[in-house]
C-alpha cells in the first residue's frame, strides 16, 4: 500500500492482442507491475468494453509457463510427444545460428523459407511478411487460423464488398439473418464494439434470426433459432432466393440494373457477349432495341429478363439466367436437405424480403440514399464445407437481389472506403472498377486482393494459390503440398520455418499428418509458450507479448466498426519485457542486418507501409523499430502525430463520412450476380491441373450457385450417425489462450466451453447422461477423442458441437494440458484434397462421427 502511494501509479493506453479485434486498453501499472486492464472508453472501436480475453491479458503477461530465454533442442528426433530436450542458449548464439541458416537458404533458393503466423500475432505477421518478401520467398501460412479462417467468405468479401469481411449496419439494420457467425456475441471482428452495437440494435427493435445447428452463444441472443443440418446453409439460401424471385417477386430492380452485372448479356457458351470494338460486356437496351456496352452513355433502359439476338447469337441478361436457375430450388426441395420445414424457409424469406423495403430511401447527412434494413451474416460455420464457395455465393445473393449491400441498414463491407484523416487525406482507399465494370477492392490486408484473380500459373508455391488464385486466406492444401512437393510439381522443398506463434498442429486438421509435413524442417519459433508446435522447433526465441511490445499497426480495416468513427490505436509496451523476451519485429530487424538484406527490407517497408519523402527508410543505415513505427504514424497522420503523440494520447479518431460507410450509391462498381469470371478461371485451373496431372475437382467453378453435400453416403454409414461441428467461444482465441488461468476458470463455469454438446434425446438413445465421458470416432481419420457430454435441447439432434481448440497435450502448458480442458477437434479432420472446397481451398469442417459412452468413467 505504501509503495503504491509513494511510487509509480499510471494508466497507460495500449491495444489488446488477445484476438484480431484490436480493442483499445487502459493498463494500470503500479511500481512497474501491471495490476489491471480495462477497456478504453475513448475508443470508437470497443467503446470501453473488453471481453474476458482482454481483461485476463495480465495472466498471459505473468504466466510462469512463458518462455523467458532462448532455447535450442538437443533431441534430433521430432514428434508430437517427443520431448525436444531444451537447453538454454544466449541470444547471440541463437541469432547467429538463425542468420547462418537464413543466409544458406537465401543463397540456394529463398522459396525454401516458410513463414507461419496466426491471428494473435496479427501485428507482427504483416512485418514478418515484409521480411519474407525482402528475403524472396512467397511462402506463408496463417496456420493458427487455418481451420478457422473464413477463406471463401473473404473472397466474396472482396467481390461483393471490397473488403476483407463484413458486418450488418448496426445503426439501421432491422432484420439480421445470421447463418452461424459469432457477430455481436464475443467473437468475429470488432468483437466488443459490435457486441454492444448489436445489443443496442436489438433494443431498438432489430429482429435477429439465427440459423445454426447449435444454439450457440451467438444464436441464444436471437429472436428465433432455426436448427439446420450442418453444411446445408447454401440450400436454405437458394430456397429463399427462389421464394423472393419466383413466389414474391421481390427484388431491387434499380440496384440490379446499376450496381450489379444483372443486365449483362450472357451467350450460349455461358460467357459475356462483348462488343467487337472494345470487348466490353454488352447489355440490352429495350427502348432502342439493341445491345450496347454496359458503360455506353446513351443507355435508356436495361433489360433484366428476356432473350435477345445479338450478331446472330442468342443471349439472356444475367439476372434472367439467375432467375431461371433458381426455379427448381423450392423450399420443398430444400426441406429434406436442411431438415428445416418448407414453411419455415418460406416464412423467413418473406420476412426478409418485406423488411428489405425495396424502393424506400433515407436521408443521411443531407444525402438521399437507398434504405434496405436487412443483412445476411455468415462466416466459418456456413462456409467451412466442401461446398464453401457456392454456398457463400448463394448467401451473398440474398442481399444483392434486394439491394441490401453497402447502403443504410444493409450488409456493409468492413471499411471498404477510407477518405483519410482530414488533415492528411491518409490512409486513403476507395473501391475501384475493373474493365468489365466489376467491383475491385482498393485495400486488402494481404495484397493484392483476390479479384481480379491472378493468372493461373501452376504450383509455384506450396499452398497451391499460384494455381488456384481464388483462395485469399489460409490454404487448406499447404500441408499436403509441403509433405510431397514433387507430386504437385513444386520444384523445391521447404527447409526452414519462421514460426510466429501459430500452433499449426492443433488448428488445422489431423495433427499427425500436419506434423509429418513439418518434422524435417528447421524451425525457428518466436514463442510465448512451449506449445505443441514448438515440439518441432530447433530454436525457440522468447517473444514479447502484446503488453510488452510496440506495434506498427494496432489497427486494420476489419478492426474498426463499420459505422461511427475511424479509430487508430497505439500498441506500446506497458512494462519492460520480462526475462530475456524480445519483440519479434525488433529481432527481424536484427536478422535482416545479419543476413545482409537491409536494402531489400527497407524497399519493401517503404512500398507496403507507404513511407515516402521524408518518411522513407534510407537503405544506407539501419533503423530502430521505434523509428519505423514513428515514421508510419507520421506518414499517415502528419508530423504532429508521431509515435510520441500516440504514446501519450493512445488513439486518434474522427467521424466517418456517409460516402465512406455507405459507399455503394456513390460508386459505379458492379457486383456480380453471375460470376462469369469464375467460370473462365475454372477452365484455366482445370487445364493446368490436367497439365500437371493433379486430381483436382474443378467442377465448383460455376457462375451460379448450387448446393452439394459435404460427405458421400458411404462416409456417413457404418454407425457414423452424427456430425461433429466446431464453433468458437468468446473466452478463447483458437489454441493460443488456453494456458491462461482466468480464461480456464471462465471456461470451467460454462456448460459447453470444455464439454461436447449433444442433443438430450440423442444422448438418451445412446445411453449417455449429462457429464458422462464419451468417445467420438471420426469416419474420416479413424481417430477417437474423449470429452464430457453436455446434454441440451439446443442442438440439432444429428449433431455434436465442440468448442474452440482445447485438448492440449504439451507438458509445458500446465493449465491447458489437464484432462477435461476441451477437445482437439482437429484429430477428427483429415488432411487431403478430398476434404477441400477447391475454388477457395477451404477445409470441410463437419465430420461424420460415431459417438458412444466411454467404458472408462473417471470419478468426479
Amino acid at each position: 500500500m505504501g509503495a503504491s502511494v509513494a511510487g509509480e501509479d499510471r494508466w497507460i493506453p495500449s491495444t489488446c492482442g488477445g484476438c484480431y479485434s484490436c480493442c483499445s486498453l487502459l493498463v494500470h501499472r503500479v511500481n512497474g507491475t501491471v495490476v489491471k486492464i480495462e477497456g478504453n472508453p475513448e475508443s470508437a472501436t470497443n467503446r470501453g468494453r473488453l471481453c474476458a480475453r482482454g481483461i485476463s491479458g495480465i495472466m498471459t503477461l505473468y504466466n510462469p509457463n512463458r518462455v523467458n530465454v532462448p532455447l535450442k533442442r538437443t533431441n534430433p528426433r521430432k514428434g508430437l510427444d517427443l520431448d525436444p530436450g531444451w537447453v538454454e542458449i544466449t541470444w547471440e548464439e541463437a541469432l547467429e545460428t538463425v542468420a547462418a541458416r537464413l543466409k544458406k537458404i537465401r543463397q540456394e533458393d529463398p522459396r525454401k523459407l516458410l513463414l507461419t503466423g496466426t491471428v494473435t500475432t496479427q501485428d507482427e505477421v504483416p512485418f514478418a511478411r515484409l521480411f519474407a518478401m525482402a528475403f524472396g520467398t512467397p511462402n506463408g501460412w496463417n496456420s493458427g487460423a487455418g481451420n478457422h479462417c473464413g477463406t471463401a467468405e473473404h473472397l466474396l468479401g472482396a467481390v461483393y464488398h471490397a473488403s476483407w469481411s463484413k458486418q450488418p449496419d448496426p445503426d439501421h439494420c432491422r432484420y439480421l439473418l445470421n447463418f452461424g457467425s459469432s457477430v455481436g456475441a464475443g467473437s468475429y471482428y470488432c468483437v466488443t464494439g459490435m457486441a454492444q452495437r448489436i445489443a443496442d440494435a436489438r433494443l431498438r427493435g432489430m429482429r435477429q434470426v439465427a440459423i445454426d445447428p447449435f444454439l450457440s452463444i451467438s444464436a441464444e441472443k436471437a429472436d428465433e433459432w432455426i436448427p439446420i443440418r450442418p453444411g446445408t446453409d447454401g440450400a436454405f439460401a437458394l430456397a429463399m432466393l427462389h421464394v423472393l424471385l419466383h413466389e414474391l417477386g421481390i427484388y431491387d430492380r434499380d440496384y440490379l440494373e446499376h450496381h450489379t452485372n444483372g443486365p449483362y448479356l450472357i451467350g450460349e457458351d455461358g460467357l459475356y457477349l462483348r462488343d467487337e470494338q472494345e470487348q466490353l460486356p454488352l447489355i440490352w437496351d429495350p427502348i432502342d432495341g439493341r445491345a450496347k456496352p454496359f458503360s455506353a452513355p446513351d443507355i435508356k433502359a436495361f433489360a433484366l429478363e428476356g432473350e435477345y439476338a445479338v450478331n446472330g447469337s442468342k443471349a439472356k441478361p444475367a439476372f434472367s439466367l439467375l432467375k431461371e436457375h433458381l426455379r427448381p430450388f423450392t423450399p420443398e426441395w430444400a426441406a429434406p436437405i436442411t431438415s428445416v420445414p418448407a414453411g419455415t424457409i418460406r416464412r423467413i424469406a418473406g420476412e426478409f424480403g418485406r423488411e428489405a423495403r425495396v424502393g424506400s430511401t433515407i436521408v443521411l447527412d443531407g444525402k438521399v440514399l437507398p434504405y434496405r434494413p436487412v443483412a445476411v451474416m455468415y462466416f466459418k460455420g456456413a462456409q467451412g464445407h466442401k461446398n464453401a464457395l457456392l454456398s457463400c455465393i448463394a448467401l451473398e445473393l440474398l442481399c444483392e437481389v434486394v439491394g441490401a449491400s453497402n447502403v443504410p441498414g444493409a450488409l456493409l463491407g468492413m471499411n471498404a472506403c477510407s477518405l483519410g484523416y482530414p488533415e492528411t487525406g491518409n490512409p486513403k482507399w476507395v473501391p475501384k472498377t475493373d474493365r468489365d465494370g466489376l467491383l475491385v477492392a482498393a485495400h486488402w490486408p494481404t495484397p493484392p486482393a483476390p479479384y481480379p484473380p491472378r493468372e493461373v500459373k501452376g504450383a509455384e508455391t506450396i499452398d497451391l494459390k499460384g494455381m488456384i488464385p481464388t483462395c485469399p486466406g489460409s490454404s487448406g492444401a499447404l500441408p499436403l503440398v509441403m509433405a510431397d512437393p514433387e507430386r504437385f510439381k513444386v520444384p523445391y522443398k521447404i527447409e526452414m520455418n519462421l514460426h510466429l506463434g501459430s500452433n499449426y498442429v492443433m488448428t488445422f486438421a489431423n495433427p499427425e499428418q500436419v506434423a509429418e509435413a513439418f518434422k524435417d524442417v528447421f524451425q525457428v519459433s518466436f514463442s510465448l509458450y512451449l506449445d505443441e508446435s514448438t515440439y518441432f522447433s530447433d530454436i525457440v526465441l522468447p517473444a514479447a507479448s502484446y503488453l510488452e511490445r510496440l506495434s506498427h499497426m494496432a489497427d486494420w480495416m476489419a478492426s474498426n466498426a463499420p459505422v461511427g468513427e475511424w479509430c487508430y490505436h497505439v500498441r506500446q509496451p506497458v512494462t519492460e519485457p520480462i526475462g530475456e523476451r524480445r519483440a519479434t519485429c525488433e529481432v527481424l530487424l536484427d536478422l535482416a542486418e545479419r543476413v545482409g538484406m537491409r536494402q531489400e527490407l527497407h524497399a519493401c517497408v517503404n512500398l507496403m507501409l507507404q513511407l515516402k519523402g521524408p518518411f522513407a527508410l534510407d537503405p544506407g543505415r539501419p533503423y530502430s523499430w521505434e523509428e519505423i513505427v514513428d515514421r508510419r504514424y507520421k506518414a499517415l497522420f502528419g508530423e504532429a502525430h508521431g509515435l510520441e503523440w500516440f504514446k501519450e494520447h493512445g488513439i486518434l479518431k474522427w467521424p466517418k463520412k456517409v460516402e465512406e460507410v455507405y459507399w455503394k450509391p456513390f460508386s459505379s462498381a458492379r457486383a456480380p450476380i453471375y460470376l462469369e469470371w469464375l467460370k473462365r478461371l475454372g477452365e484455366e485451373v482445370q487445364a493446368m491441373a490436367q497439365k500437371l496431372d493433379l486430381p483436382l475437382d474443378t467442377s465448383a467453378f460455376l457462375p451460379l450457385p448450387e448446393w452439394r453435400p459435404c460427405h458421400p453416403e458411404q462416409e456417413t454409414a457404418n454407425g457414423h450417425d452424427l456430425t461433429a461441428i466446431y464453433y468458437k467461444v468468446p473466452m478463447q482465441t483458437f489454441s493460443g489462450t488456453y494456458d491462461n488461468p482466468w480464461l480456464d476458470e471462465a471456461c470451467s463455469i460454462d456448460r459447453f466451453a470444455y464439454h461436447v454438446a449433444i442433443h438430450a434425446e440423442t444422448a438418451r438413445r445412446k445411453g449417455i447422461q449429462d457429464g458422462d465421458w464419451i468417445e467420438i470416432t471420426s469416419a474420416s481419420t479413424g481417430a477417437t477423442v474423449r470429452g464430457r457430454a453436455a446434454l441440451t435441447e439446443g442442438i440439432h439432434p444429428e449433431v455434436i458441437a465442440i468448442a474452440g481448440c482445447g485438448g492440449h497435450w504439451s507438458k509445458f502448458l500446465t493449465v491447458a494440458n489437464r484432462e477435461g480442458r476441451g477437445v482437439c477437434f482437429e484429430w477428427l479432420m483429415p488432411v487431403g484434397l478430398g476434404n477441400l472446397d477447391i475454388p477457395s481451398l477451404t477445409q470441410d469442417q463437419c465430420v461424420p462421427v460415431r459417438v458412444a459412452r466411454s467404458t472408462s468413467q473417471p470419478q468426479a
Binding site: R106, D109, P110, R111, L115, G117, V125, R129, A132, M133, A134, F135, G136, T137, P138, N139, G140, W141, N142, A145, C149, T151, H154, T446, P447, P448, P452, P453, R454, E455, K457, E460, T461, D463, K465, G466, P469, C471, P472, G473, S474, S475, Y492, Q599, E600, A603, C604, L607, M608
Partner: protein, 93 residues
Amino acid sequence: MHFYGHTRDVTGGTDFVTELPERSTVRDLLDRAVAHYGEKLRERLLTRSGALEANVQLFVGERQVLSPDEPLRDGLEAVGEVTIFVVSATAGG
C-alpha cells in the same frame, strides 16, 4: 533496375544494369531483363497477354507504371532507375 520480392530465385540478386536507346518502353527493359535471366522472369512478371501481373508493382523513378507499354520517362527526362516489386501474393491469409 531493382528487383524486390518473389524474384530472387530467378534473378539471384537485386540489381540489374543495362543501357537502352532513347524512347524505350518498360517492355523493352523487361525484354532485356528476360533475355538475361530467362523466360521464368517473364512468367513471374507478366500475364500471357503481356500485362503486368496483379501482384507486380513497377515504378519508373517515383512514378508507378500500370502498363509495360509506358515510356521509361518521367516527363521529358529519361529515368535511370526502375524498381519492380513482386508482392508475396500468396503469403499469409
